[in-house]
């Protein structure tokens, strides 16, 4: 392969972006990691404190709960949203009537902020206002749907609201992918007498791989920064049973005036994510590139 000349103008154009990345992102990350090794409270100070913030962090039950919640939420939300979004896209792809209308309806939740989503679902799930009250009003006196007030189930309410919010987006991505599939493949499979579900599972899903990856990346960003939805929907409660890392960090950063512990939590989160994502990113991008050459 012929070596292309370096185009300096491209780099000149990129300079502002590079500067922003270096100073605004990498710089603040380094600063955050640095602060986490000091005993800063309300204001950053440079008194070195070793790993004491980390020791306290991992002795805090609330932090462990919030990490656990992030895993539960992440796995369930991504899996259900992908499955539901894909099924909706397949259903919409059957050349049905009023497709545009349905597509808009399904995509609508995504246009709403998490604050609104959280508030609406808080009312729907509240046993004295929402579904439970309504069904009981119909005469089913023993009906119970009180997930949101029970410690063991509150996090699933967050999953429910988040899936409602995100499934439409996944559907839109998948639908675009489906529309891009060569029509000849459909015809060929029909001639060969392949059952529809086998066709989707063995041919469509592998073709849609890039769509699945884009959707997963988008959704996982939402998992890590999940904050406002929890704040409005459950407030992290009952107790701190539905707490998440971002809320933990925000609480310690602002309300509790303990930026040392907050930055330790943020750093831990960053390292965890890097550990989880690096192998995957490596496999997905770098190895794929090599294969092309």
């Amino acid at each position: 392969m012929k070596q292309r000349p370096i185009r300096w103008s491209v780099y000149a154009g990129l300079t502002p972006a590079i500067l922003i990345v270096v100073f605004a992102y990498i710089g603040t990350i380094i600063w955050t990691v640095g602060i986490s090794f000091t005993d800063s409270r309300m204001l950053p100070v440079a008194r070195f404190a070793g790993f004491s913030q980390y020791v306290r962090l991992f002795g805090t039950e609330r932090w462990l709960t919030s990490i656990q919640n992030m895993v539960i939420f992440g796995v369930l939300m991504i899996a259900i949203s992908l499955a539901l979004g894909f099924l909706l896209a397949v259903a919409l792809d059957q050349r049905i009537r009023a497709e545009g209308f349905l597509r808009t309806i399904i995509l609508y939740p995504y246009a709403m902020s998490f604050i609104v989503t959280g508030l609406v679902w808080q009312w729907i799930l509240n046993p004295t206002l929402g579904i439970e009250q309504t069904v009981r009003g119909w005469g089913f006196e023993n009906f119970r749907f009180d997930w949101i007030i029970r410690k063991e189930t509150a996090i699933y309410c967050v999953v429910l609201a988040a899936v409602w919010h995100a499934a439409g987006l996944v559907m839109a991505i998948m639908l675009a992918g489906l529309r891009g599939i060569d029509p000849d493949l459909w015809k060929a499979s029909r001639i060969d007498g392949v059952k529809p579900w086998r066709f989707y599972w063995h041919i469509v899903v592998p073709i849609l791989r890039p769509s699945f990856i884009s959707a997963t990346v988008l959704l996982s960003l939402g998992v890590v920064k999940l904050y406002d939805l929890v704040l409005v929907l459950t407030g992290g409660g009952p107790g701190f049973s539905s707490d998440v890392p971002a809320k933990f960090v925000m609480d310690y950063l602002f309300q509790r005036q303990n930026i040392g512990l907050a930055t330790a939590a943020a750093t831990t989160l960053l390292i965890t994510l890097l550990c989880a994502l690096t192998p995957w990113l490596y496999a997905e991008y770098f190895r794929a590139e090599k294969r092309k050459d």
């Binding site: 309300m42 609330r62 701190f240 049973s241 509790r256 303990n258």
Partner: protein, 413 residues
């Protein structure tokens, strides 16, 4: 949008004032988070009085204290402070004072003779290492019991003054199909209720040995066990809709007759007034069930170092205006809290404020609020334990006491 616009005007006005400080009026940009209807009416009393005294009030109201506080602190640290900023008394502004970012108000306090007119605990709460750093403007306590008078009459229930009487009354309402206690299980509300029980059912000594002395052994006492049991018992007198309910939703359960009682701070009165309720007629109030203690909390204003002479002048004028006797009465009547001065004319206060003032007269019933004794980190770590206890009916008082003690020993000095 309007706020931002105003802030922009404020900022440019301030810049202008700095540029021509020799002959400008004494402009003061005031950062605060009093934005509900009752609160903004109250803050307008300050603004009008300040303008009348020759200053120029530039309002910078930010919704939600958790947003406003970091905004203000960032500006102070960054060297572009508001002239005056709201805070809560106690440990919150201590670090700013330590770093030399706040103006020392000793001269202003001496000129206004604060030592004579303000309670000693309040002075203590606005001081750091013997110097005064903030202007207190009101007194409030979070441990009021508010009740719906009509419901009390209907059920023939007397006003409770102890926790035993409270539970007896609550049983009557429960049997009658009324929610006995309106409650919102948000962390701050839960912690506030718990601290009320701690001071009321546990008593002064226990309260002080926990918040002031941070003594883990205090949780081993029978008094603490009684507090833990009382707090857990309250749970069974609330409805299933409590999780994440805001305090004003809980307040509206009283005004709509769904619930009979609510335990909340003075600011509850603003909600009642908005619903057209009158103190002593539609609603009654009891201060501190059990041992009657006024858990003092106070809104204060800090004066960051701004550099210019005009700013310093405006700050001194502001301190004087805020503590003026007439301004104190007018402001606190609208805000729902009590004047911080003990020498004002009290005839204009409502029935419940008078109850509070009566209690305040007895120094033996004044008790510094948790924020005055301990830092935000410790208090919120305790709140975590309290919140978890409320949400876990299977947790025993002893298990709870152990967890509570563990946090205390972490912060013991």
């Amino acid at each position: 949008m309007l706020q931002r616009y105003r802030a922009l005007i404020g900022a440019s006005a301030l810049a202008l004032a700095l540029a021509q400080s020799a002959f400008a009026a004494e402009k003061a940009e005031v950062l605060h988070w009093w934005t509900t209807e009752a609160q903004s009416k109250a803050v307008k009393v300050f603004a009008d009085a300040f303008n009348a005294a020759g200053g120029e009030w530039v309002d910078n109201a930010i919704v939600n204290g958790d947003v406003a506080k970091p905004t203000g602190i960032n500006r102070i640290v960054g060297g572009n402070p508001p002239t005056v900023m709201m805070m809560n008394a106690g440990k919150q502004f201590g670090e700013l004072a330590d770093q030399g970012l706040l103006n020392n108000l000793d001269n202003v306090a001496a000129a206004g003779d604060w030592k004579k007119s303000l309670p000693a605990d309040v002075l203590e709460a606005v001081s750091r290492d013997g110097h005064i750093y903030a202007v207190p403007v009101n007194l409030q306590t979070p441990n009021w019991l508010w009740y719906n008078k009509a419901l009390f009459e209907k059920f023939g229930v007397q006003e409770p003054t102890t926790w035993e009487e409270f539970f007896a009354a609550a049983d009557r309402f429960k049997a009658g199909g009324i929610i006995p206690l309106a409650f919102g299980a948000q962390p701050w509300q839960q912690h506030q209720l718990f601290n009320g029980v701690l001071a009321g059912a546990g008593g002064r000594d226990l309260y002080l040995s926990i918040f002031r002395d941070k003594n883990p052994e205090a949780t081993k006492t029978p008094e603490f066990k009684r507090v833990a049991e009382t707090y857990a018992k309250i749970r069974s007198y609330t409805d299933p809709g409590t999780p994440n309910r805001s305090f004003n939703e809980a307040a509206s359960m009283l005004t709509t007759g769904k619930a009979a009682m609510h335990i909340m701070g003075d600011w509850e009165k603003g909600e009642f007034t908005a619903a057209g309720w009158v103190a002593g007629k539609d609603y009654g109030c009891v201060l501190g069930l059990g041992q009657q203690n006024f858990l003092m909390d106070s809104n204060v204003f800090i004066m960051p170092k701004g550099g210019s002479e005009a700013a310093a002048k405006a700050q001194a004028l502001m301190a004087e205006v805020m503590l003026d006797k007439d301004v104190q009465v007018k402001f606190n009547n609208l805000k729902g809290s009590m004047p911080v001065r003990n020498d004002v004319d009290t005839s204009g206060l409502d029935a419940c404020s008078k109850v509070g003032l009566e209690v305040l007269k007895d120094p033996g019933k004044q008790l510094a609020g948790p924020d005055w004794l301990a830092g935000a980190d410790m208090l919120n770590s305790l709140a975590d334990v309290v919140v978890e206890y409320w949400a876990t009916p299977s947790e025993t008082p002893d298990e709870f006491a152990d967890k509570y003690a563990a946090v205390l020993s972490e912060f013991q000095e």
